[in-house]
């Protein structure tokens, strides 16, 4: 644990700007690869024509790029950033390295919302949602948001009276269990086709968002991500723990509500559009703390956004490598690829400190 000062300075010698720069380059590279690679080969020249000049003459290629690969890449980019930011906020507000976007049962809430709509539409409405196309998609998103936000409202209500953050965390986890139990009951009463649709939703995917919806999704995230940047001073104070933060003039209750609400809305929206994506929100903050060697949210917040986007793009790329198209759910890739990467980074850093 004891490090010589020279060593810890040496570790910090990588200037954050260099890190930001290299992550940014990674993002650009991965964006390109995401657009370039796929089961159908489209030459870079064609892609250039399609994206820059809006060339619609090659209809198939145009559709693949504009309606599939590009929205998918952008969705991954934004969703990754959102989940990572949400995870960072949860870890700070709960002083718990294991906290993540899913910890307060907010993503379970989204699942519950979706389960209600998907699983009951068949058995009660007599019309499987999966057959309804765009209306079905919109209904899915809205029900996920409603589910997630109502669980979040419940959490915020509870946090009015509960003082300790560990208690609140446990209550959140309990609410998550209850939501999952209800989903189980709903599944029992549903037709097979709906259960299948629900399970597929639960696997998570950046490809589900179609062209029109992707715009709404991006706009929402463009509003929400900067809002989370506004909370950096609050989050830095929260690092010190409740007593010190309060003594430094922070209104703890309001701060906690703001952070949980922002983080919750981010998760709700990402989950609504992409399904419950696990792992990214938990792991990216750890990765960034290690890389940037700081706990300062003024650096971590943008760092986590960029790193989240990078990892999401990488996972998306791997999930639809030629030959694997559609075979691997994003959730498997995030964990399979991400877990060893993060573990090795943490392990390596730990041994040098």
């Amino acid at each position: 644990m004891i490090s010589s000062p020279t060593k810890s300075i040496a570790l910090r010698s990588i200037h954050p700007l260099w890190l930001f720069g290299s992550i940014f380059v990674c993002i650009l590279l991965l964006m390109l690869l995401n657009i370039l690679l796929g089961s159908v080969y489209i030459s870079p020249q064609q892609i250039w024509d399609i994206i820059i000049h809006g060339d619609t003459s090659q209809e198939i290629a145009y559709n693949i790029i504009i309606k599939s690969r590009l929205p998918q890449a952008i969705t991954a980019l934004v969703a990754g950033a959102g989940l990572a930011v949400s995870g960072l906020m949860m870890q700070t507000v709960f002083h718990n390295p294991l906290a993540g976007p899913s910890v307060l049962g907010i993503s379970s809430g989204a699942s519950l919302g979706v389960a209600f709509v998907v699983l009951l539409s068949g058995s009660i409405g007599g019309n499987a949602l999966s057959t309804m196309g765009l209306i079905g998609e919109v209904a899915l998103s809205i029900s996920a948001v409603i589910g997630a936000l109502s669980i979040m409202a419940l959490i915020l209500f509870v946090s009015q009276t509960v003082r300790g953050h560990v208690t609140l965390l446990i209550i959140g986890v309990m609410i998550g269990y209850v939501a999952n139990a209800i989903i189980g009951v709903l599944k029992f009463f549903s037709v097979e086709e709906d259960i299948r649709a629900y399970v597929i939703w639960g696997l998570g995917s950046f490809a589900r968002v179609s062209g029109d919806q992707v715009q709404v999704f991006i706009y929402l995230m463009i509003i929400l991500l900067p809002i989370s940047m506004l909370l950096t001073k609050t989050l830095n104070l929260m690092l010190l723990g409740e007593g010190y933060a309060r003594n430094l003039g922070l209104n703890i209750r309001r701060a906690r509500h703001l952070v949980i609400a922002t983080s919750g809305v981010l998760v709700a929206i990402v989950t609504a559009y992409c399904g419950p994506i696990i792992f990214l929100g938990l792991a990216v903050p750890h990765l960034c703390r290690s890389l940037f060697h700081t706990s300062d949210h003024r650096l971590l917040m943008p760092g986590v956004m960029l790193m989240g986007a990078t990892l999401a793009l990488l996972c998306n790329l791997i999930a639809r490598m030629p030959g694997l198209e559609g075979a691997l759910p994003v959730n498997s890739v995030t964990a399979l690829i991400g877990a060893p990467v993060v573990a090795s980074v943490l392990f390596h850093k730990r041994s040098t400190i």
Partner: protein
Amino acid sequence: MNPTIEIEQLSTGYRGKKRTKVVATNIDAQICSGELTCLLGSNGVGKSTLLKTICNFLPPLHGQIHIMGRLLGGYTDAALAKVISVVLTDKLMIRNMRVDELVSLGRSPYTGFWGVISNTDRAIVQHALQLVGIPHLAHRMIHTLSDGERQKALIAKALAQETPIILLDEPTAFLDYPSKVDMMQLLHRLSRKENKTIFMSTHDLELALQIADKIWLLDKEKAVQVGTPEDLALQKILHRFVSHQGIQFDSPSGLFRVAYSYHHTIAVEGSGDAYHLLCKGLNRHGIATDSQKEMPTIPITVYCQEGRRPAFHVRTSKETIVHSIEEVLQLVEKHL
């Protein structure tokens, strides 16, 4: 020496939904600037609760607290942050934060929306680090510090907050003895040099009596008794405060020491360190020492001879010369 904290008829405790738990009542006292005040009291008597009430983490159940002449309840969180700073017992669970970053956070009541540190702030942080004597630790990570160093970093944070009042909850706990002394002297020096009101709770009775300007004795029956350590000794309040068996108040020094029960008396002659330390060693074994040779119960006389190599002449029927107190004690034990 004007009072910065004035407490009237205060009751502290926790207000619950169903019942209210009162911890201490009828506290009436003042704390002055430029002084180090130590809050003493046994476990559970409400030291932390009192501190939490003064820094407005807990509302008072009854009574009033005036801080700098203004009612505590009249301060907003932000305004109070510029008047009172705290050092708590909470363990810091932060990795990857440098000491100077921690101390800079003490500037947050003064920084703007983004918490950007100006050059003035940086100078204040540097000054705070110098006051507590840890400028060399500025770039170390907090989690690599020892307990004493971390405590000093937190005090630097409190100093960077530039408040007239600093409250500390057991800052000497978990420190080794030299660090405890160091810490208390540092706080005493700060109270003088920076004219701060420093109020700390502690279990280190001995040190508090030697270093503090004022002592608060918190007690279940008597509420709180305030005074200089010497006055409290003179009024026999300290005697009552530690009225346990096995502790003796040594009035001339104004300090406590362990009370031994003696079963034997022995004659010891001599002077200097060797004499005093031998007496101490014998006392520890339940043997009273007597130079007058009145009624010793052990037929031994010990002469202490000071010098570069102290010698002890142990006389029974024959004389033995030994050079360590341990050997004297062994010889004496044989004759019990």
